[in-house]
Symmetry: C2
Subunit: 338 residues, 2 copies
DNA sequence: GTGAAAGCGCTAACAG
DNA sequence: CTGTTAGCGCTTTCAC
């Protein structure tokens, strides 16, 4: 059991050398004689020695750890971004320490604090509901990269985002191209990503001269929120033929609402989401969506963190990635006017 | 920037006391005079002091951290278990350190090693493909609780599992009750969870005198694997009316395969999954499934870990939870015999 | 090459 | 109540 693990001293004793030499040998320094190295490695192996990470990061003053705050784990979208992050972090020989705040700001603060207490060397924040003050505060202690929220800026903060306004407009424009006019919107609630997509929707509608058809109900990026909001929209205006929904997860909810309202998708009603989440293509239901390059965003974020760790004076970046239209099973030409 | 955070010494100096007293005050000991406490807390606050987690866990010889290994983050099922885990871990004032192995055994070993190097006080392993040797090795260093794999046992290992054999049988029996006879199975590949569910399927078929209709194709717990396996089954025997699929994720894939084979679900073909994953109810597609109480399993696992941390000699448990039939949109009475 | 000594920031006796 | 003294396990000068 926890009969305390062997320490560097045990190895040193067994190999008959000093602990400094063990330290060097373990980390593969070349200033150790072949002979000593062998003895040390063998002793370590026999003892089952492995360095204590806490001691090392204390002495080293670097944790070799990147902290990642995720909104939550239920939306697979975050997992996709995380994959990109992990790939780069691992490549640098670092580890990632993952926490989630479940969209609760207080909880996010606690978790972030815990990461900082652990002396993470960099922070990647992936949460659309993130409190800007939190991020700015964290940025005083280590490099911070924010994914999906370009509006949070400040000293020490970089961002990796899609152009959500443009994506919002493009979703509308694609529906327009399919002949839709009565296009409503399920928004993403009180946060910048949602607000931007909604803005894009509104602008595109106005540009198309369809201001009078602008119709919005608030969702919250969850499946149930999207379902409820879509239901309200369909009740307010049964003539809607197109629905632009703030993200894929709530768009899946909107599909449910559509069926409950006896609208068949896509023949009666076209639905578009955002994100390109991996599980959005299921069964009969393959969601049309504005895809974001999620893994790529994760990689970009991690790369930026390491750039800043390596050269703290390197410039802060504001990466922007491109969202693209991915037509699948929930969109079709507008039904003939009734 | 990282201009080194204030330490306990800085606080002590500023408050005009010794660092031991600061240590006590910070942790809320009552052996500190009201006067000193105030001075210390104020100094700490002014300096923005927060204890260094690495130093603390080194001196304390406890990390107050529970390590969690997850198969991967793309199957929302794991997120649900994790929620239960986190709830309990937080309640104990501990933190969780989360890693994933993406189903790769070598990678799982690395990540597990990293957790142990960090001196986690307990380990919760949630990965159906887990290598038993890995778990047993880890159990020599700290209490280990394995979720979903009752077959991995050993000194220091507890388990929290559903009775997958029974669940497998029950899925079949429910289909039998709906009048199905030609019931095939998409398995979960080379791991015990999958094997158990398959065994349950086989046993139930045999008990029903339907051995000659036993038909199995191997999936791998992924959506695409389920889709491919289901497609093969439908080709091998077009008369199948029921499909028991090893987990929800692959069941969703099976639904796609069914539609591609022009079988309509559930009127032509009933499909059952396992797990009760939150995203299995989407749009027209609400999957019938054998639900496991995922959050509860997570809580049970965490509670067991703390029980073992608190009293190392407390008995190893083998918790078993109940899977229940949740009929939804992908099952229906068997079509009349052609 | 190798070892002795001095910390990293914190906790934990043990005296006062 | 409070300060002193030792470490926790590891890295890192800096002599030899």
């Amino acid at each position: 059991m926890s009969t305390s693990r062997p320490t560097i001293n045990d190895v040193a004793a067994r190999a008959g050398v000093s602990k400094s030499l063990v330290s060097l040998a373990i980390r593969g320094s070349d200033r150790v004689s072949e002979e000593s190295r062998e003895a040390i490695l063998r002793a370590a192996d026999e003892l089952g020695y492995r360095p204590n990470a806490a001691a090392r990061s204390l002495a080293d003053r670097r944790s070799r750890t990147i902290g990642v705050l995720l909104h939550d784990l239920h939306n697979p979208v975050f997992a996709q971004v995380l994959d990109g992050v992990q790939e780069i972090v691992r490549a640098h020989g670092y580890r990632t320490m993952l926490v989630t705040g479940h969209g609760d700001s207080q909880r996010e603060r606690e978790e972030l604090t815990a990461l900082l207490d652990f002396q993470v060397e960099g922070l990647i924040l992936i949460s659309h509901g993130l409190d800007p003050a939190l991020a700015q505060q964290a940025a005083r202690e280590c490099p911070v990269v924010i994914v999906m929220r370009h509006d949070i800026t400040g000293r020490g903060i970089s961002t990796v985002c899609a152009d959500d306004v443009r994506a919002g407009s493009e979703a509308v424009e694609e529906l327009l191209a399919l002949g839709h006019e009565r296009i409503a919107h399920v928004s993403g609630g009180d946060n910048r990503v949602g607000a931007d997509r909604e803005l894009g929707y509104r602008e595109a509608m106005i540009r198309a001269g369809l201001d009078h058809h602008i119709l919005v109900e608030a969702g919250d990026f969850t499946e149930s929120g999207g379902r409820a909001a879509a239901a309200r929209l369909l009740e307010r205006d049964p003539d809607i033929t197109g629905l632009v929904v703030a993200n894929d997860l709530s768009a899946l909810g909107a599909v449910v609402a559509a069926e409950e309202a006896d609208r068949s998708v896509p023949s009666d009603l076209s639905i578009v989401g955002f994100d390109g989440m991996s599980l959005a293509a299921l069964g009969s239901l393959t969601l049309t969506t504005m895809v974001q390059p999620l893994e790529q965003m994760g990689r970009a974020a991690a790369e930026q963190v390491f750039r800043r760790i390596t050269s703290p004076r390197s410039p802060l970046s504001q990466d922007q990635v491109i969202s693209t239209w991915l037509p699948r099973g929930t969109t079709a030409p507008a039904p003939p006017r009734g």
